[in-house]
């Protein structure tokens, strides 16, 4: 606790998310290391998305969060508490320090707004950039995520891009204000495998590039195995296991993790049941 810089960019402790009648997330701990990709796996409905939304304070109105989510400041040991934070604090964090990429690139971009507008409006809001400046930066961003003809792309609309390109644009939108944390909620689920491979490479590059820490939510253990450095497995709102990738895939400690892996074709735990040939 005395080191000058917290090794974790984002620390979740005892996070509980509940509606009036149900507990969605039952108290989880999770630390997101700086500059790494942290995979969050688990069956459908286990609360992965809600955990990510809780970080941004964007839970549906019917849900409340308790516990602690601390976002480390870029320099210095200080951190910002996000659970129960005021609107002003959250507005400053959203998009600026923590950004999010959603599952379906076809729905997370506004179909009636040109890409350039969607890339620049929060830059201008958060960073106070002028129109020209913001566009310049946006162009550079699109280049960075390898969208062809970045300049021309700014005035195009989402439907004029392919699914993979749209997801790259969504990532560019997230990266626009140089956040320290990127929450990627199943960013490749909607994509074809050949397209997915490209997006995964991009995420890897971003994480390797330095300051960005990525929380990658996915239920695809193949994807997890490909890019995550650290893996957390959730089930019914609880963390069942959290371990470095190699360890989790080769020697899972928890039964649930094991059964998950066993169901996967191609994994080292694949069962050769008599039903399969």
């Amino acid at each position: 606790m005395s080191s000058s810089i917290d090794p974790a960019a984002l620390t979740i402790e005892g996070l509980r998310i509940a509606t009036r009648s149900h507990t969605i997330v039952g108290g989880i701990d999770l630390a997101l290391k700086r500059g790494g990709i942290h995979g969050l796996a688990g069956e459908s409905g286990s609360g992965k998305t809600m955990t990510a939304l809780a970080v941004l304070g964007l839970l549906p109105g019917s849900m409340t969060a308790s516990g602690s989510i601390r976002l480390a400041d870029a320099e210095g040991p200080a951190s910002t508490e996000l659970v129960g934070a005021s609107r002003g604090v959250l507005q400053g964090v959203r998009g600026r320090r923590v950004a999010m990429v959603f599952q379906d690139p076809s729905t997370s971009l506004h179909p009636q707004l040109p890409v350039g507008r969607q890339l620049t409006d929060h830059m201008r809001h958060h960073l106070g950039l002028g129109k020209a400046e913001a566009r310049q930066k946006a162009e550079a961003l699109l280049d960075r995520v390898r969208v062809p003809d970045a300049r021309g792309a700014l005035s195009k609309y989402p439907h004029q891009f392919s699914g993979g390109q749209r997801q790259r644009i969504a990532i560019a939108v997230a990266l626009a204000c140089d956040p320290t944390v990127l929450l990627a909620d199943e960013p490749t689920t909607a994509l074809d495998v050949t397209v997915q491979a490209g997006v995964l490479q991009l995420l890897r590059e971003l994480a390797d590039g330095g300051d960005l820490s990525i929380l990658l939510v996915t239920h695809d253990l193949g994807v997890m195995s490909a890019v995550a450095d650290e893996v957390t497995v959730m089930r019914q709102g609880l963390v069942v296991e959290s371990a470095p990738r190699e360890q989790l895939f080769t020697s899972p400690q928890d039964d649930y993790t094991r059964s998950l892996l066993a169901a996967l074709p191609g994994s080292s735990f694949e069962q050769t049941g008599e039903e399969a040939r």
Partner: protein, 304 residues
């Protein structure tokens, strides 16, 4: 009348086709073309032929929008074919119209991707499986008990009197499968039957489908973009790209030795859950052009 040309002579298959896993073909399709719209039409399926033998599982893989569903629907007769013939046990399969399907044609059934829309929400599942049983009876086949079908797909037989909304997606898909199988089809077409399911149930449903259809001696056309599942349950695989089959052959052969660049890219892009941290290979944009080329050697392969 001397000039009369039979439809058969027009649509001679361009090359001889040998069913690979033996047995007579239940289903034969030749030169299927499906188009949407007019001026200019969008050609979703561009001259595809295939055959499925009794007891054989043939998988169809390919990226989104390559025409898999269109092909499946054209085979069953839901979609109008622009060209091509489909024969079920030697009889032409007509397009579904206002007239009711003949008894013989109920020998081909289909399972759809979305389990939620496959079942009539206002009817008890037992009734709906009963429709299948009645179809079998109408064809002169053996009858059966809907409850028994529930048991066979791994559900509680007592659930016959429930309504679809009381089931989870995976369970609904099992019911849809039960209904299709209750008609005792000789041919089952399954359009991404598992992609809407939970990761944990996908494999088991796929395996169930295989075992039940093989057990019944039915042929199955299994559409999926999940290559790892395909690898586990398919005898043969067809790889589609932009409306055409670019590669086909015995599953393992294709897997071990993909000849078409698209097949290669596809296989290389699958991330393996081995914990090795290997990034899948992403094909470059420029590669896509090459994927349109035919590689004749990849088209019909029986051996490595």
């Amino acid at each position: 009348m001397s000039e009369h040309v039979t439809s058969e002579s027009v649509s001679q298959p361009e090359r001889e086709r040998e069913p690979l896993s033996g047995g007579r073909p239940v289903l034969e399709a030749e030169g299927i073309v499906v188009e949407y719209g007019r001026r200019p039409a969008l050609r979703a399926v561009d001259g595809v032929g295939l055959a499925v033998a009794a007891g054989e599982v043939v998988a169809l893989v390919g990226e989104s929008g390559c025409g898999k569903s269109s092909l499946a629907r054209a085979i069953v007769g839901i979609e109008k074919r622009k060209a091509g013939v489909v024969r079920l046990n030697g009889d032409d399969v007509p397009t579904l119209g206002l007239r009711r399907r003949s008894a013989a044609m109920t020998g081909m059934q289909m399972v759809f991707q979305d389990p939620n829309s496959s079942l009539n929400p206002r009817r008890r599942v037992g009734d709906q499986i009963g429709d299948g049983v009645r179809a079998a009876l109408a064809r002169g086949d053996r009858g059966s008990d809907p409850a028994d079908w529930l048991r066979r797909v791994g559900l509680d037989p007592a659930m016959v009197s429930r309504f679809p909304h009381e089931f989870s997606g995976g369970q609904k898909q099992r019911i849809a499968i039960a209904r299709a199988l209750a008609a005792r089809p000789g041919m089952l077409v399954a359009d991404e039957p598992i992609s809407a399911l939970d990761a944990s149930t996908q494999t088991s449903v796929a395996a169930l489908m295989r075992s039940l259809s093989v057990e019944a001696g039915a042929g199955m056309l299994f559409i999926s973009h999940d290559l790892s599942v395909v690898r586990r349950i398919a005898d043969r695989v067809l790889v589609m790209y932009q409306g055409r089959v670019v590669e086909s052959g015995v599953t393992e052969t294709v897997w071990q030795n993909p000849l078409h660049p698209y097949t290669r890219a596809l296989l290389a892009a699958i991330p393996l859950p081995d914990g090795a941290g290997r990034l899948p290979v992403a094909p470059a944009e420029t590669d896509r052009a090459a994927w349109l080329d035919d590689v004749p050697a990849a088209l019909e392969r029986t051996t490595v």
